[in-house]
Amino acid sequence: MPQYQEKTIVTRVEQLSADNVRLTLKAPDIAGTCKPGQFVMIRTAAGKDPLLRRPFSIHQADAAGSIQIYFKIVGRGTEILARVREGEELSVFGPLGKGFRINENVPVCLIGGGLGIAPMLFLAKEISRRKRVNTDNDIIILGGRSKGDVEPLMADFKQINMQTQAATDDGSFGEHGFVTDVLRKVQLSSNTIVYACGPEPMMGAIAAYCNDHNLECQVSVESVMACGMGACLGCNRPVDDGKYVHVCLDGPVFDAKELKWNL
């Protein structure tokens, strides 16, 4: 698996909502090799504090050598990152981790909640590019607290040849409720693969739903990370048999059945 540490140039900064920012980075090596579900580690500060890099899913990658990340300002690292200016440099390395497994021949259901929407755009584009069969049954469900978490991304998803539904906790956009409420209403054929990324409770609920309905479910999970590439062993997560997997190496995408869910 090739990995690169690149000095990327920020070519675009988009403030998609009060807290959500999208960056476009010129990162030809990473863009040329990455797969949906993989992530990058980004250095946020010029100084030594905050010290560690921050992990971000690859939101999009194009043939022209750009990648995008889409993130929420939640702490010091993301705050600094949100203040970056076009033309400035960011140190990025990746692509890291195991991405989503794609099967060109079956229907899919992509579910992104909050910032879990980030990897879904790349995944949706890749699936639609590789798809051999009719996509009438393919569906994307996007959720968030309120309009600002979902609406700004709809245009990008609408360009993909799949139906897209939205839900917000406060009802300010799309359906009033959770993505799982939408999921329960749609009809999924038994060979559908469900892909999910979002808050733990959301993924846990989806995992349980898929388990009950015997659907394959791939989830992209988070964890604290120091290195992002298997060196620190800090990103462990318990699996059912009392052992641990490492999110950065064995994931971030897992078969939902492999993991232990604390609900």
Partner: protein, 316 residues
């Protein structure tokens, strides 16, 4: 130390750790560099002075439950709990790759008893590619682990002796900073036959999540590493290198060539790059490049001229 006249390109960066000659003083610190392979596409592994691998125990260890790491001001706490595959699988699964690098591998070991240290050492003796052993007597994470050894000179000496008796490669004893008198510890292990001491291991620390009213780490306490601890590490390297005559290896918050050179001025014959590998996976190579530049600019005939070269004739 004797060195054959240097001929290869570039400056003479060779240093000696006991009978082991390193092509340069830059190593990677145990637990921060996996088993080296993780870094193969992000830097040139062949340029390293030595690779020190994650601590190996007699039997496999699952390690601690999550969360195992948390960031702190200019540093991080870890409580990995010494997760490793155990010495036998290490030899089988990890050593072949490491042996293939033309770089010495130093195996970091830990045990719960003197006999365990002895047994791990015996199993490593003679394994192709094992160029040295670093004895972790200082890991603060596991209750039954190294803590007792690292805080008591007699116990540390006993472990050192057991390891020395069981192998022919150089033995480096890694010292804990969580002691009143680190020089005393160094003298004790030197007396017991250690070929070198490396320091510092992590400082014991703790972080609390105010919202949850809980420790940030499942293990409650963890080891503090990174730039935050560099001043403590430099001071201890300075103290220890004046207390013993075996080579001292400096560790703690080293991120740049400047940091590494400061440790060498303080008395270190070589350095280890730890947490910096996480921040910059090519950190060790960058440190090496910076050292090469420095030796060239300063026109040193060898990097060894710098070791312990700190001037103390202070004039305000």
């Amino acid at each position: 130390m004797e060195f054959v006249k240097y001929s290869a390109d570039g400056p003479d960066l060779r240093v000696k750790i006991g009978s082991l000659e390193l092509q340069n003083p830059v190593m990677t610190a145990s637990g921060t560099f996996g088993y080296a392979r993780e870094f193969e596409s992000l830097m040139n592994l062949h340029r390293l002075g030595a690779v020190i691998v994650k601590g190996i125990s007699l039997f496999p260890r699952p390690g601690n439950p999550p969360p195992r790491i948390v960031e702190t001001a200019c540093g991080m706490l870890n409580a990995i709990g010494l997760q490793n595959v155990g010495v036998d699988r290490f030899i089988l699964e990890k050593m072949p790759y490491l042996n293939g690098l033309n770089v010495p591998t130093i195996v970091n070991i830990l045990g719960g008893s003197i006999e365990e240290y002895r047994e791990i050492t015996k199993r490593l003796e003679g394994v192709p590619g094992v160029a040295g052993i670093e004895v972790n007597i200082s890991c603060p994470n596991v209750k039954e682990g190294g803590v007792a050894f690292g805080g008591d000179p007699k116990m540390a000496a006993a472990v050192t002796q057991a390891v020395k008796e069981s192998c022919s490669v150089p033995v480096i004893v890694k010292l804990s900073p969580n002691v009143t008198d680190v020089a005393e510890m160094a003298r004790a292990v030197e007396g017991a036959g250690a070929d070198s001491v490396s320091l510092i291991n992590t400082l014991i620390g703790m972080a609390i999540n105010l919202k949850k009213k809980r420790p940030e780490l499942a293990n409650i306490i963890g080891g503090l590493s990174g730039p935050a601890i560099k001043p403590v590490a430099l001071r201890m390297v300075f103290e220890v290198s004046r207390a013993v005559s075996i080579p001292v290896i400096g560790i703690g918050g080293i991120e740049s060539a400047e940091d590494a050179l400061e440790f060498m001025l303080a008395g270190a014959s070589a350095v280890q790059i730890g947490t910096a590998n996480f921040v910059n996976p090519a950190a060790s190579e960058d440190v090496l490049d910076g050292i090469i530049d420095y030796v060239n600019e300063e026109k040193l005939s060898s990097i060894r001229d710098l070791i312990g070269g700190l001037k103390l004739d202070w004039i305000a």
